[in-house]
């Protein structure tokens, strides 16, 4: 083998090191693979510009075959390439900065009698903050006039996506076909409380999701599960490397008009009746979770999945500890086993603290 040969990982593959194993996050191809600790250590030698011969020497001739097998795996899967000493340095690291031309990227509005009169104001504020994605949630049945009003208020905006989460009713169900005529920006409709209801809908311009159980508040949110690991894209990963993967540039207006980072977090920064979203985000404490990254959170910092999951600071294992692991995550990075979080006896205190006992029973 030529002693001048080196190996380098393509810089759009990011290695996230966990306690027992690591992940290669291939955000260019929306893909990830788990790799053993030994391979991760070998990759880090290569990344520190040790030649292939140096690496073989490091592991000893008797392990030469294994080094070659690992290299073959990495090259076959196009995670990296063979290079030489001069060229090695020309393949510079990618700048993992997260830059986006929005003060707020996403917003949750809980629709209620309290917030309906402020919808226009909220939409105007969001526009001036260059918000991209908006979600409207309504726990009670919504009459068609109000629904039409919400659709109209958001129709001529620059939002990239608008999601609706509404309670199932015959009226709303029959109106589904009319939604895109009132607002072509709707990207997703979720109907909760839809057990034993008619779910026959023709395919339209947006996703439709039915949830059988009733949503009464935001306590359903915050679940960390591998089934949500399907978004290995640049924005997701780079935001997670630099900021909180859920709360960064998020704002919410709750049922009673309170402005919060997330509906589930107790801290309120004023009521939409008396203040504006713009004023709220200028309060320094509003952004206190924005830069809490997964690398700072207990347990998560040892987890190989930490940059493809979505964090939750609202429901944590140790309420009161702002660096505590998300309550609704059942993964143990020390054993690499997924377990049901809601029946874990160690989480019982926190479940009681957040008054989720009923919710947990219903879901099981």
């Amino acid at each position: 083998m030529n002693s001048k040969k080196y190996f380098k990982i393509f810089s759009n593959c990011i290695i996230v090191t966990g306690y027992n194993r690591s992940l290669i996050l291939d955000w260019q191809r929306n893909n990830f693979v788990a790799i053993p600790d030994t391979l991760q250590k070998m990759i880090s030698l290569f990344q520190n510009k040790k030649s292939i011969d140096d690496v073989i020497h490091f592991y000893g001739e008797e392990n030469k075959e294994i080094v070659h097998e690992y290299l073959e795996f990495l090259i076959e899967n196009e995670f990296g390439f063979i290079t030489d000493a001069d060229e090695f340095d020309l393949f510079i690291d990618i700048d993992t900065n997260f830059e986006i031309a929005s003060h707020i990227t996403n917003c949750i509005v809980e629709i209620s009698d309290e917030t309906i009169p402020s919808i226009d104001k909220i939409v105007r504020d969001l526009e001036s903050l260059y918000c991209k994605d908006v979600q409207f949630v309504c726990y009670e049945s919504l009459d068609l006039d109000t629904l039409k009003y919400v659709l109209k208020a958001t129709n001529e905006t620059n939002f990239r996506s608008i999601e609706l989460i509404l309670k199932y009713s015959k009226e709303v169900f029959e109106f589904i076909g009319e939604i895109d005529k009132n607002n072509f920006r709707i990207t997703e409709l979720t109907l909760h409380s839809s057990a034993n209801k008619n779910k026959e809908v023709s395919k339209g311009t947006f996703n439709i999701i039915f949830i059988n159980h009733e949503l009464k508040d935001f306590r359903n949110c915050g679940i960390v599960d591998s089934k949500y690991f399907n978004n290995v894209n640049k924005y997701k990963i780079f935001e997670s490397l630099n900021h909180n993967s859920c709360l960064h540039k998020k704002i919410s207006v709750t049922q009673n008009g309170e402005i919060k980072n997330c509906p589930s977090i107790p801290d309120s920064f004023g009521n939409i009746r008396d203040t504006t979203l713009v004023d709220v985000i200028n309060q320094s404490s509003f952004t206190k979770y924005w830069n809490v990254t997964k690398d700072q959170i207990d347990v998560c910092k040892d987890c190989e999945f930490r940059h493809i999951c979505t964090d939750c600071r609202a429901y944590v294992e140790e309420p009161g500890n702002q660096y505590s692991k998300p309550l609704k995550c059942g993964y143990n990075p020390y054993t690499n086993v997924w377990e049901e979080w809601s029946t874990n006896p160690l989480k019982e205190t926190a479940i009681n603290y957040y008054q989720m006992e009923q919710l947990v029973q219903k879901n099981n």
Binding site: F10, S11, N12, E78, A101, S102
Partner: protein
């Protein structure tokens, strides 16, 4: 106020404007589809389009992204008059473009279309490696030069690559020239180059002296080895940030200055022998496809450049 000349489909313009908005800059976008009226008031020129009115003297910086100002003027219907009027207006428009270039600006309409043959010749003058250019219009000449030892490619000289026919569309992508082609005795002048074997391709965005370079690994896939615009969506070619050797950057910088361009996309090939071979420059080319995979955020760099106050 920042003036941008573009076309209505250009997404990169929209993304730069998103940054200008975020940075609280005043901007006006004129698309070539917009019908523009211009009023002249002695020393001042007033632009009117859609519902926008602005004074030329309020323009602090200018980005020539692409397109032209689609000037509307009242005609008399009397041909000699109209022809005369058009001649007069043409000269005034030249003057307006000239004055725009006088402001803090990125690119200029005068360099919107570069001549591939001239650029390659200029690149050679800057000691930059280029493929050999041959132009043939008959079979005899072609057969004298082309030998079977080397491989050759042919591509359009103008860069214009899409032509619509009655019931099909022809994409004039770069293609490999092979012996089994049926060649008539004489044909329209065509560009032939010796094929450069590539280890990888480079797509370089040049912005006022800065280089944002991306390496594209496309050799692995036969589908894209000649021209990577034949996209492979299933397994996208690896595109990663790359630092050009200083010596190459310096030569390219000289070339860009010689061409009076302060922005553009440059295509190069790196050969297995680590030679850097220049292919072409597109002053109005796409840069989103370099900006995104390398996280260069070129859209923001352009917004910053345009925001710079003299």
């Amino acid at each position: 106020m920042i003036l941008i000349l573009s076309d209505e489909r250009d997404l990169s313009t929209t993304q730069v404007i998103e940054w200008l908005e975020f940075l609280n800059r005043k901007w006006i976008r004129i698309n070539q589809e917009d019908k523009v009226k211009i009023e002249f008031c002695g020393k001042e020129i007033i632009f009117k389009l859609n519902n926008i009115v602005f004074n030329f003297s309020d323009v602090t910086s200018f980005w020539y992204r692409r397109g032209y100002i689609n000037l509307q003027n009242d005609t008399t219907g009397i041909r000699p008059f109209d022809e005369f009027q058009n001649e007069e207006l043409k000269i005034i428009m030249q003057f307006i473009y000239y004055k725009l270039d006088d402001k803090h600006h990125l690119n200029s309409i005068k360099n919107a279309n570069v001549n591939k043959l001239i650029v390659t010749s200029m690149a050679r003058d800057c000691n930059i490696n280029t493929p050999e250019d041959y132009i043939f219009s008959n079979k005899e000449g072609l057969e004298q030069v082309i030998n079977s030892k080397n491989t050759y490619i042919t591509k359009s000289i103008s860069g214009d690559s899409i032509r619509e026919f009655e019931d099909f569309i022809a994409f004039n992508y770069t293609s490999e020239f092979t012996n089994d082609w049926l060649i008539p005795d004489s044909f329209s002048p065509s560009l032939v180059q010796n094929q450069i074997i590539k280890k990888y391709e480079l797509r370089i965005f040049y912005l006022a002296g800065e280089f944002y370079t991306m390496a594209i690994f496309s050799q692995k896939d036969n589908q894209t080895s000649v021209d990577f615009r034949n996209y492979n969506n299933h397994k996208p070619n690896r595109r990663v940030p790359y630092k050009l050797p200083l010596e190459i950057e310096e030569k390219l910088d000289v070339l860009m200055k010689k061409m009076d361009l302060n922005s553009g996309s440059i295509d190069m090939i790196v050969t297995p022998e680590n030679e850097y071979v220049f292919l072409e420059i597109n002053p109005v080319g796409q840069f989103g496809m370099t900006s995104f995979p390398c996280n260069y955020n070129i859209e923001k760099r352009i917004a910053d450049y345009l925001s710079y106050e003299n």
